[in-house]
């Protein structure tokens, strides 16, 4: 058994300890979250190039490939590579 005042004191100490840890974490947490956010925004920006590259491949190569004409396909792929 633990006396009520001791229990309250322990609870109070845990509360204060938790507050101190939260305060300690806060500035680091904000900077860390800002850094993470910046990195995530940059990742989203990079999707623009991925989208452009994929669209270019589809637009330039999909039509010749869909025709199933072997010679045309070979020429189209080679021309695409040479023009990159």
């Amino acid at each position: 058994m633990t006396s009520a005042p001791l229990s309250r004191a322990r609870a109070r100490a845990r509360f204060l300890q938790d507050r101190v840890q939260r305060v300690r974490r806060r500035p680091i947490g904000v900077f860390a979250r800002l850094n993470a956010l910046e990195e995530e925004v940059q990742e989203q920006r990079q999707l623009n190039r991925r989208l452009a590259e994929l669209t270019d491949v589809v637009a330039e190569l999909l039509v010749p490939l869909a025709h199933r004409d072997e010679e045309w396909t070979r020429e189209a792929v080679e021309r695409y590579r040479v023009d990159l």
């Binding site: 452009a52 270019d56 491949v57 590579r81």
Partner: protein, 534 residues
């Protein structure tokens, strides 16, 4: 005008460390070597205090040249105030300091810190060729690509300020205002422009998703660069490549005005002075060869995120291949190439990914294999082409940028139709995560019909001794990788490692490497269930 303010007689000392200024100076200075312009700097911006005075260190691009003796002169821009003009001995002190390219042509440092050929080293006839070429590029952009371009940057500045080219400029720059609504769309437009210019016979080099460099051959054997930059508005901010961003209304650009430069007429922004203030700041009327851009960080970060990332290390690899360090790469085939050769059927075709100087591609070709040599660096591709042409070997040299999905998919499409075994020695450690993911995609496309991938890379791993294992050479360009990470990535991409060896070897430069990893990998065809999960 330059403004030298000196409380006492100002001098300078030239040493291996750089230029030490012995008094207070707040204007730009010009450094010439044996009478030729080489570099301009601002002591206030570029210097740091030392006991002896303000030290401005040599730019890193010049350091390799600074061995021997030469007459070095440091003065203000107009040349009236001379701080030093004397014979100096630097570096190993042997021979003469010559700041020239491999063809012996004089070089200077430009405003972004690169080595270039300045117009002051260019005669009038060549200058006319450059301007006529620039005009032709603008016409081709309109006729073949459907975009209207205007003269900009140094050429516009020289035309407005002096009616002449700026002495220390190194190229010409043209821009076009894109009407596309998103970065993805303006990159697609830029790809179309690139094809249009190639169709007109231009030699084109892509620098980012929004700018290309046209290589204009000159009658004296040199090449001039004409940069074609996109300009665009997003949410009220005006962006103009290289890295400019800020406020500039469309009315400052269109409708175009006309400007004359050495007798050649060019389209120019509607308000050239507003454009020059946007590019160079309010002090644009005062000549400053030491000028350096101070672009908004947020704008640069946006442009980097939208348009760049596929040729991040290109400059450093070009330096590596153009100058002496690549000479340390051995010429005979590597031990890994011999190891792979023994495992393959006679005459089986092989694709060397990241072929570098072509040592292993040449080795395979000499042993009767048809070879595709894929390489990131244009300088290295040139080296391989010269080497195989000289020996008449069956090596086809192609570009592969593993951070650029278009080249990866094009190579994958070709290799899936024309099967080759894949070979990559010391490539993996040169790649970032995204490029490795694209490499596995390429392997998956190329090898599902059969064939193997052979990999060798410098590994992280248990090595006896207290010191951590150093990164392999060339320094800063290659890193060690955890074989377990590589295994997980390969298996996640559908590959199956059927041989793994870990042991001592050598790095790209032939220096001992205590731990390298060799892998042989297959990409089995997907089963019917994998292809049709339902």
């Amino acid at each position: 005008m330059s403004s030298l303010t000196s409380p006492r007689a100002v001098g300078a000392v030239v040493s291996d460390a750089g230029i030490t200024l012995l008094g207070s100076i707040d204007g730009p200075l010009v450094l010439s070597v044996d009478g030729r312009y080489v570099w301009s700097f601002s002591p206030v911006r570029d210097g740091r205090p030392t006991r002896a005075g303000t030290l401005v260190e040599w730019p890193s691009v010049l350091r390799r040249f600074l061995h021997g003796s030469a007459r070095v002169r440091v003065s203000d821009v107009v040349g009236e105030r001379v701080l030093v003009d004397e014979e100096v001995v630097l570096g190993d002190g042997r021979g003469t300091i010559e700041i020239v390219d491999p063809q012996g042509l004089p070089l200077a440092v430009d405003k972004v810190g690169h080595l270039c050929r300045a117009f002051s080293a260019t005669d009038e006839g060549i200058r006319d060729e450059i301007l006529a070429g620039t005009r032709r590029a603008i016409d081709d952009l309109r006729e073949a690509c459907g975009v209207e371009a205007y003269l900009n940057y140094g050429a516009l500045l020289g035309a407005v300020r002096d009616g002449a080219m700026i002495a220390h400029d190194s190229d010409t720059d043209i821009c076009y205002l894109s009407r596309q609504a998103s970065p993805a769309e303006l990159m697609l437009e830029s790809y179309r422009i690139e094809r249009g210019l190639r169709g007109r016979g231009w030699n084109v080099l892509r620098m980012s998703g929004g700018d290309v460099k046209l290589l204009l051959p000159l009658s004296d054997g040199r090449q001039c660069h004409i940069d074609v930059f996109v300009a665009f508005h997003v949410d009220g901010t005006f962006y103009q490549l290289g890295n400019r961003s800020g406020r500039l209304p469309e009315s400052a650009i269109v409708p175009f005005s006309t400007i004359t430069l050495h007798g050649h007429e060019f389209p120019a922004p509607a308000d050239p002075e507003a454009m020059l203030a946007f590019v160079y700041g309010p002090g644009w009327r005062v000549p400053d060869p030491s000028f350096a851009y101070a672009d908004p960080v947020a704008g640069v970060r946006r442009l980097d995120g939208w348009l760049r990332g596929f040729r991040t290390d290109m400059g450093r690899w070009t330096e590596f291949y153009r100058w002496a360090e690549a000479g340390r790469v051995g010429r005979p085939g590597s031990a890994f190439a011999r190891w792979v050769h023994r495992q393959l059927p006679r005459g089986a075709a092989i694709a060397d990914l990241g072929a570098g100087t072509g040592r292993d591609a040449v080795h395979f070709a000499r042993h009767g294999r048809p070879v595709l040599a894929y390489e990131f660096s244009r300088a290295a591709r040139g080296t391989i082409r010269r080497r195989v042409a000289h020996q008449d070997l069956p090596v086809d040299v192609r570009m592969l940028l593993l951070n650029e999905l278009r080249t990866v998919l094009a190579a994958g499409a070709e290799l899936s139709r024309d099967p080759h075994h894949l070979y990559a020695r010391q490539l993996l450690g040169c790649l970032d995560d995204a490029a490795r993911a694209n490499l596995w995609l390429l392997c998956r496309m190329a090898l599902r019909g059969g064939g193997r991938l052979f990999l060798e890379f410098s590994a992280l791993g248990p090595v006896a001794g207290p010191e951590p294992v150093a990164d392999p050479g060339p320094a800063g360009l290659v890193q060690r990788l955890d074989p377990e990470l590589v295994r997980r990535e390969i298996e996640a991409a559908g590959g199956r490692i059927d041989l793994e060896e870990l042991g001592p070897g050598v790095d790209m430069l032939g220096d001992p490497d205590p731990i390298v990893c060799r892998l042989r990998v297959a990409w089995p065809r997907p089963t019917h269930r994998e292809r049709n999960p339902r």
